[in-house]
């Protein structure tokens, strides 16, 4: 027992927890007027947690990683890298929010605080090495997310999104919990390493059901087909800053969690879950591509795009190798930048009365009225489609390279051929912006913060991103290595 070390290992979450409690008090007494102060302080707290995570990631004395709290929690490079991505996304989503909620005066200090709560949950998720920590972290994140989805109380779509998310999310949590109880029943332990040891001589039918249920519950959280149905509705209905958040941070956390469960807990039984992952990956790629074609709302389109991208990330998981895990982390980093950037572009699409515009048809001729924004959105679209030389190609590159190296050549061939379906609808957005006559509905931007974030992410996604590959690859490789520590 070494509480001092344990608290140090969990310091990012502890910092966030303490600040969230203090900020909650400020919000309770300060009321609506305090929302600006609370937002600023939340960002400061998240930057603090970010700095701590960076230290864990880069400081050689933490290279090995360590367990804390009797094997409930693990700090390693994998967790730290995931946390960095989560916290950065959260910061982005807080920065862009005030302008959005300013219309109708709907900004509340609870918004940053809820994101903070969700971030604590996500920190726990990516550090969980025990089914109980996993569940506590997941629920902490989910509860905050349900409230965030219905943050615009007076808006029917937002309320509907919150309710839908809650009902389906609760169902998924139930499935997950049922799977966990089966696993506990058949292995007698809730720790990932314990489960791995128990599975060393094979999986009984009951435990197999447990694995399937746990993976199903997690597939819901990463919105992989066939558990994706909620995604377009929730993404469309939730306020756009919240959608931005849903598409980035929780996706990273849930994906990291899935990786840890699959590779640490079920690591010895790859043959059991590999076919499930392959099916889910291909189904997500194909359905995410086909279903997006008919969409007229850009938020729904981006929802299907995120389903599509999750499919590509899962190809890395299907390999079950270190190279695959490293490729997934690389893809996640690029995915976060692309998604954050494209949603902030959407946030900047307002008509002259300041109402948000979500119809793709209304983007017509955007390249003439808002050339900078149109160029950035085009960069994100081509990048999401994985067309070189944009950086989105690199994510697909490493994932498919890992798949080929692991011998999954048919999977790689089908996956990459299906990526062409996706290219079709990304092209549609570019076509509307560049080839069509101006509809002239979009007003000039009123936010330098948004423009700065768009510029930043667009530069990262542009071909300049390749110069980061030499620096990124040791980091993702280190994170992947940490994941395989018990193997």
């Amino acid at each position: 027992m070494n509480y001092e070390l344990w608290f140090q290992l969990a310091s990012p979450e502890i910092v966030l927890s303490l600040s969230s409690l203090v900020l909650l008090l400020i919000a309770a007494w300060g009321g609506v007027q305090s929302s600006r102060l609370v937002s600023v302080l939340t960002v400061v707290a998240l930057f603090g947690a970010l700095a701590l995570s960076f230290n864990f990631l880069l400081n050689p004395s933490f290279a090995e990683g360590a367990d804390a709290f009797y094997g409930q929690y693990r700090m390693d490079r994998f967790a730290s890298l995931s946390k960095i991505l989560v916290f950065l996304s959260a910061i982005g989503c807080i920065i862009v929010a005030p302008k959005f909620f300013a219309r109708g005066n709907l900004m509340r200090p609870e918004y940053p605080i809820l994101i903070l709560f969700a971030s604590i949950g996500m920190g726990l998720m990516v550090s969980a090495v025990d089914l109980l920590t996993l569940y506590v972290g997941l629920e902490m994140q989910s509860l905050a997310a349900y409230v965030l989805a219905s943050f615009l109380r007076s808006d029917d779509r937002s309320a509907e999104a919150g309710l839908k998310y809650f009902v389906l999310g609760a169902l998924a949590s139930g499935i997950l919990l049922f799977g966990m109880s089966l696993l506990y029943g058949f292995t007698g332990t809730t720790s990932f390493i314990g489960i791995q040891t128990a599975f060393a001589d094979g999986v009984s039918t009951g435990a197999l059901f447990g694995i399937v249920f746990v993976l199903s519950g997690l597939a819901f959280k990463i919105s992989a087909v066939p558990f994706h149905m909620w995604t377009p509705d929730v993404y469309e209905g939730a306020p756009t800053p919240v959608t931005t958040f849903f598409a980035t941070a929780p996706k990273v956390a849930a994906m990291a969690l899935t990786m840890r469960v699959a590779i640490e807990a079920f690591g010895g039984q790859q043959a059991v879950w590999q076919q499930i992952v392959i099916f889910v990956a291909l189904a997500s790629i194909i359905l995410g591509g086909v279903a997006a074609i008919g969409q007229t709302n850009i938020k729904r389109l981006l929802a299907y795009s995120s389903i599509n991208n999750v499919g590509f990330i899962l190809i890395g998981l299907a390999t079950g190798t270190e190279a695959g895990a490293s490729a997934m982390m690389t893809y996640l980093i690029i995915y976060v930048a692309m998604t954050l950037g494209s949603f902030i572009c959407v946030l900047d699409l307002n008509d002259r009365e300041g109402r948000p515009v979500e119809e793709i048809a209304k983007l017509a001729g955007l390249s003439k009225t808002r050339p900078g924004l149109a160029a950035a959105l085009a960069v994100f679209m081509f990048s999401l489609a994985g067309i070189p030389p944009l950086f989105g190609f690199w994510g697909k590159f490493v994932v498919f390279d890992a798949a080929v190296a692991a011998g999954l050549i048919p999977l790689a061939a089908i996956g990459i051929a299906a990526s062409v379906i996706g290219a079709f609808y990304y092209l549609k957005v570019v076509k509307v912006m560049y080839f069509d006559e101006p509809a002239d509905v979009i007003a000039p931007s009123d936010s330098t913060a948004r423009m700065a974030l768009v510029t930043l992410t667009a530069l990262f996604v542009s071909p300049l991103g390749y110069f980061a590959t030499l620096a990124l690859s040791p980091v993702t490789a280190g994170a992947a290595k940490a994941l395989f520590w018990a193997a």
């Binding site: 070189p388 080929v404 050549i409 061939a413 990459i416 290219a423 092209l427 076509k431 080839f435 110069f467």
Partner: protein
């Protein structure tokens, strides 16, 4: 560092890249001048490159390598084949900019930026010595070309731009999977090393097919050529020039650089496939060209037929065939580019590409009619023009392998003469049918400045092809040596006649096979 003491290939990529960025931020007129200047600088650098290229020296020259990226590196270098194709690109680019000088009025800065970006990517494709760097340059060309067709194209431009993008993308993605496998197998992404690596014969078939899917679409070969007529018709004049002049050559370059040297056994196994598709293409697309009423479409279909001559030449596996294919590529790049410019000239005046609207242009546009005639003859392959040299060599080459292929493909020359002469007759001869055609002025100075250089090079290549073949000779020899062990016997069994004494010794030696 290389022979010149400075990284000339990187510089040739950097100049248009910097100019492309600059074009986005300046006025229309400034963008035109910047683009022209940058392409002329690149042309000058290209000439420096050619002057300093050591013919018969090292296979790879001007090599640069920098480990800038993870898993692949910034590796550039050229052999004679790449040199000639780079020369073709840098030669056509200033002409494209000039052709767009007045025709493009909207969003000039973006247009020029897209073209300069195309130039970067074209040079990059031919100069890349890392297989992944090649792929990035090869695929990246989709984005600017999609925008060029979609923004500045004709009435049905959106359909054409989608078709171009999706066809080419679908063709290329499987190639990437094959590249991953090859790099895993060989342990390097260095193209010269891979060219000498012997891949397992059973894997070669799959790899060859993956590469073939990509290059056949790009080339384009029948039956995946259907994107080309659409893209050509809808693209602005300069877009068609660059598409026909250089982008189609990437397919042929791919066969020479990847399919043939890396998978020689599979290439022989699939030779029948290539020859069969090419034979169909030559006859079928020539017949289609014969009935076109749209000038650009006619030239587009003739491009497919000419590219089929390239593929039969390449898959003849002998020197004549390979050299012939390369010369056809260079010649077609110039001639079809010039023909598209000729169409552009009269399109700018009358705003229609309908052949029937014209007639009797030799009366009021004599200079135009003369140049158009020259390019028509070059396209047919009249001796003395560039077209003859390449087609003759390709067909001689393929005759050694399959007399049937040679016979069928030679009909392409006759059909080519038919549709080109028929086109020329309808446009230039006869009487002037309407007042608006009669009012069309002859070529102005700008247009002459665009067409005359191409005309001179076409004649140069036709009269003294040695200038263009000399740099490539050693590389073709290396490829021939690589293919020697698998070369098919062929059905014709041609033997050299008894006249070698009349030829210079060096040439006579090459004739023996």
């Amino acid at each position: 560092m290389n022979e010149l003491g400075f990284p000339i290939l990187s510089l040739m990529l950097a100049v248009p890249m910097a100019a492309a960025v600059a074009c986005l931020f300046v006025s229309a007129n400034a963008a035109r001048w910047i683009a022209l200047l940058a392409t002329l600088v690149d042309l000058a650098l290209g000439i420096v490159l050619w002057m300093n290229f050591d013919i018969g020296g090292a296979q790879w020259q001007f090599v640069e390598k920098a480990a800038l990226f993870d898993r692949f590196s910034w590796a550039l270098g050229i052999d004679g084949i790449a040199l000639m194709l780079i020369m073709l690109s840098v030669f056509l680019m200033p002409i494209c900019i000039g052709a767009s000088w007045e025709a493009i009025e909207t969003r000039v800065g973006e247009y020029m930026a897209a073209f300069l970006l195309m130039e970067v990517l074209m040079i990059g494709v031919f100069a890349a010595q890392d297989i992944f760097l090649f792929y990035i340059f090869f695929e990246a060309g989709l984005i600017p070309m999609y925008l060029i067709i979609g923004i500045w194209g004709g009435a049905n431009r959106i359909y054409a731009s989608y078709k171009f993008f999706l066809f080419t993308l679908l063709g290329s993605v499987l190639m990437l999977i094959a590249m991953f496998w090859m790099v895993n197998e060989a342990g390097t992404s260095d193209i010269p090393t891979l060219m000498a690596y012997d891949f397992p014969v059973e894997a070669q078939a799959w790899l060859w097919l993956a590469f073939f899917a990509s290059f056949a679409v790009k080339m384009p070969m029948w039956p995946v050529h259907t994107w080309l007529p659409d893209a050509h018709v809808q693209a602005p004049t300069a877009g068609s020039v660059i598409l026909a002049g250089v982008l189609l050559k990437m397919g042929g370059y791919g066969f020479i650089r990847f399919s043939l040297p890396m998978f020689p056994e599979a290439s022989v196994d699939y030779m029948w496939l290539v020859l069969a598709l090419s034979m169909v293409a030559v006859v079928y697309t020539s017949l289609i060209a014969l009935v076109q009423s749209d000038m650009k479409k006619l030239i587009a279909y003739s491009s497919v037929a000419h590219m089929a001559i390239v593929t039969v030449g390449l898959f003849a596996f002998n020197r004549q065939g390979l050299e012939g294919a390369l010369v056809v590529m260079l010649s077609h790049g110039l001639v079809s580019g010039a023909l598209f410019l000729c169409v552009g000239v009269i399109y700018d005046r009358l705003h229609t590409r309908e052949i029937d609207r014209y007639g009797g242009l030799s009366i009021n546009m004599p200079r135009y009619a003369l140049l158009f005639l020259l390019f028509t003859m070059a396209s047919i392959g009249l001796p003395g023009t560039s077209g003859f040299v390449g087609e003759f060599l390709s067909l001689v080459g393929v005759y050694e392998v399959s007399s049937w292929a040679a016979i069928v493909c030679t009909t392409g020359i006759i059909l080519g003469a038919a549709y080109m002469l028929y086109l020329y007759r309808r446009v230039a001869y006869g009487v002037i049918k309407s007042d608006d055609v009669a009012a069309m002025p002859d070529l102005n100075k700008r247009e002459i400045a665009l067409l005359l250089p191409i005309a001179l090079v076409v004649l140069w290549m036709g009269v003294y092809p040695e200038s263009f073949m000399a740099p490539m000779r050693k590389d073709v020899g290396a490829l021939e040596a690589r293919l020697a062990s698998v070369k098919p016997a062929g059905d014709a069994q041609v033997k050299m006649g008894k006249a070698p004494a009349l030829m210079p010794a060096a040439h006579a030696e090459e004739g023996h096979h």
